[in-house]
């Protein structure tokens, strides 16, 4: 059952990603990217990581996709003609993919069977965030606050003298 689900989700995710890379209209590409995001979320669900999957939908579909769509809308009026195929991009993409594959294959933990993990509840995540990972959490909070203030300053109207 999970193998079938895996194959189906993989096809959907890859098709979305491929469409996002090749569709001539930018809005269509952005919307197919949403399909990819949903596919990744479905993978998390399949792995039993409910919380991460939900946050994936929440952040990527709810916020990042809307952001992308808005930027496209506010910057480009008309869809430009399709550029001709860019070989340099393909080379870089293949290099990155090869690097990732190499790194994953080198990882030793893949060959070890997963230990029995207790069911990961939201409560447990909260506890861990507040004890073991409190400093990373604070750093992320600081970073986000800085970004927020920066965004506010960027759009603030300058007072005319």
């Amino acid at each position: 059952m999970s193998i079938v689900a895996f194959v189906l989700i993989s096809i959907l995710t890859l098709a979305g990603a491929l469409a996002a890379a090749t569709l001539p209209k930018l809005i269509h590409a952005a919307l197919s990217l949403v399909v990819t995001f949903l596919g990744v979320a479905a993978f998390f669900f399949l792995l039993g990581a409910e919380f991460v999957g939900l946050v994936q939908v929440f952040v990527y579909v709810g916020a990042v996709a809307v952001l992308i769509v808005f930027t496209i809308l506010l910057t480009r009026r008309e869809a430009t003609a399709a550029d001709k195929f860019n070989w340099r991009g393909a080379v870089v993409a293949i290099a990155v993919f090869a690097g990732l594959v190499w790194a994953i294959l080198k990882t030793t933990s893949l060959s070890i069977a997963a230990p029995q993990i207790p069911a990961l509840t939201v409560k447990r995540i909260g506890e861990v965030l507040m004890t073991d990972f409190v400093w990373p959490l604070q750093c992320v909070g600081l970073l986000l606050t800085a970004a927020l203030i920066g965004a506010l300053i960027l759009v603030m109207e300058e007072k005319r003298q």
Binding site: M1, I27, H28, L31, V34, E50, F51, L54, V55, V57, F58, V61, G62, A63, A65, V66, V69, F70, L73, T121, V122, K123
Partner: protein, 388 residues
């Protein structure tokens, strides 16, 4: 007796599933899910038909006119007539529209609204899909509505549609923040993101009876009004300004789908409000527990829905800049105050002292905030120079 009445739908489902006894596990799982889906769709489509006619009757009553009364007794078959009319109407797609996006938008908007209904506990053991992060699921699904609205507006290739979609997205994103933050105190106090646990935690008292709960409930209700694009926050549709916003280019059954999704969204957000603050399916007093739990849930839901209709019949439409200013300057700080007040309530021992302290926190911030936001404008009857 009362217990079997309470669990009558669960027993019915078990009875239906017993026909499949001996079938492999996945098939039973799928059948069980399909039964849940059928139940949710059946109940809420009926409620949608009922509420659409009731809304028009109540609005008519408030505006001193009859409302629908031609079809069937008291006009009760009006939704059937409407449905048939919508079904046989011509489906018009603009020539310059983006056909695929235009087609997918209503499907997506309806799908998200229905998905959100799936995690709400409608009664004892009556959550269609009980998942651990139910509240998070609700908001994750709800946040994809914005994308569907955008698709509708952009796919129509119409300035009115695009304007409506932009307004809708702007206000939905702004109010999503207070909406999510006011659920935080409940999640903090209960210590769980599961709607069932939240309802179970309210068996002694409802959260709306604490100061932070009451404040959070009001904020939640206002945000819910905005999220479901209802008057006084219906600027995305604004029929007197931009025709019907993102629904301008839709006709026939696609328009009906949008209409349905809007009502489903309203049911979902009211259902979540009932779950979070009004005790879900719990009876208000122990001696009233002989009435089945789902009856309590739907009674509370109908009261909230009546208030929605009441507000629609009473208040005029607000301006978009007023809506946005209200969200960022008032709702958001008050939502954070609710979180702090809930923490104070918890650390003061959840008793009378905590009750008073959290009330004090909310009152101080409320008064301070109103002083800060006071523009000094005093409102007086308008004087007309030439129009008398």
């Amino acid at each position: 007796m009362s217990n079997s009445l309470d669990q009558i739908f669960i027993s019915a489902k078990q009875w239906l599933l017993s026909f499949l006894a001996g079938a492999p596990d996945p098939i039973i799982q799928i059948a069980s899910s399909l039964l849940n889906i059928a139940a949710v769709l059946g109940v809420f489509l009926t409620l949608f038909a009922l509420i659409s006619v009731l809304e028009r009757k109540i609005l008519g009553r408030m505006q001193n006119r009859y409302g629908p009364n031609r079809v069937g007794p008291f006009g009760l078959f009006q939704p059937v007539a409407d449905g048939i009319k919508m079904l046989i109407k011509e489906d018009i797609v603009p020539k310059r529209a983006d056909k695929i996006v235009h087609f997918i938008a209503p499907i997506m908007i309806a799908a998200t609204a229905i998905l959100a209904l799936g995690v709400i506990p409608y009664g004892r053991n009556m959550t269609p899909f009980a998942i651990d992060g139910g509240i998070l699921f609700f908001f994750a699904v709800g946040s994809t509505t914005e994308l569907a609205v955008f698709m509708a507006g952009w796919g129509s290739n119409n300035k009115f549609s695009m304007l409506g979609a932009m307004r809708a997205i702007a206000q939905m994103i702004s109010y999503e923040l207070p909406l999510i933050i006011v659920t935080l105190p409940v999640v903090m106090v209960v210590g769980s993101l599961s709607p069932d646990a939240i309802v179970a935690a309210q068996s002694k008292f409802w959260f709306v009876l604490t100061p932070w709960g009451a404040a959070a409930f009001i904020l939640f209700f206002v945000s819910g009004l905005v999220e479901s694009n209802r008057t006084p926050f219906d600027v995305p549709e604004g029929e007197s300004e931009i025709v019907a916003g993102h629904m301008t280019e839709y006709s026939g059954f696609k328009y009906a789908t949008f209409f349905m999704a809007e009502y489903f969204g309203m049911f979902a957000i009211s259902g979540l409000g009932v779950t979070l603050f009004l005790g879900g399916w719990q009876a208000p007093f122990a001696w009233l527990q002989f009435i089945p739990s789902y009856v309590w849930f739907f009674v509370k839901l109908s009261i909230l829905l009546f208030v929605y209709i009441w507000v629609r019949g009473t208040l005029p439409r607000t301006r978009i800049d007023q809506i946005m200013g209200f969200a960022w300057k008032f709702m958001l700080p008050m939502a954070f105050t609710c979180v702090v007040a809930a923490a104070v309530w918890h650390y003061e021992g959840r008793g009378l002292a905590g009750w008073l302290w959290s009330l004090a926190v909310i009152a101080i911030v409320y008064v301070g905030l109103s002083r800060l936001l006071d523009t000094g404008k005093r409102f007086a009857p308008r004087t007309y120079r030439f129009a008398e």
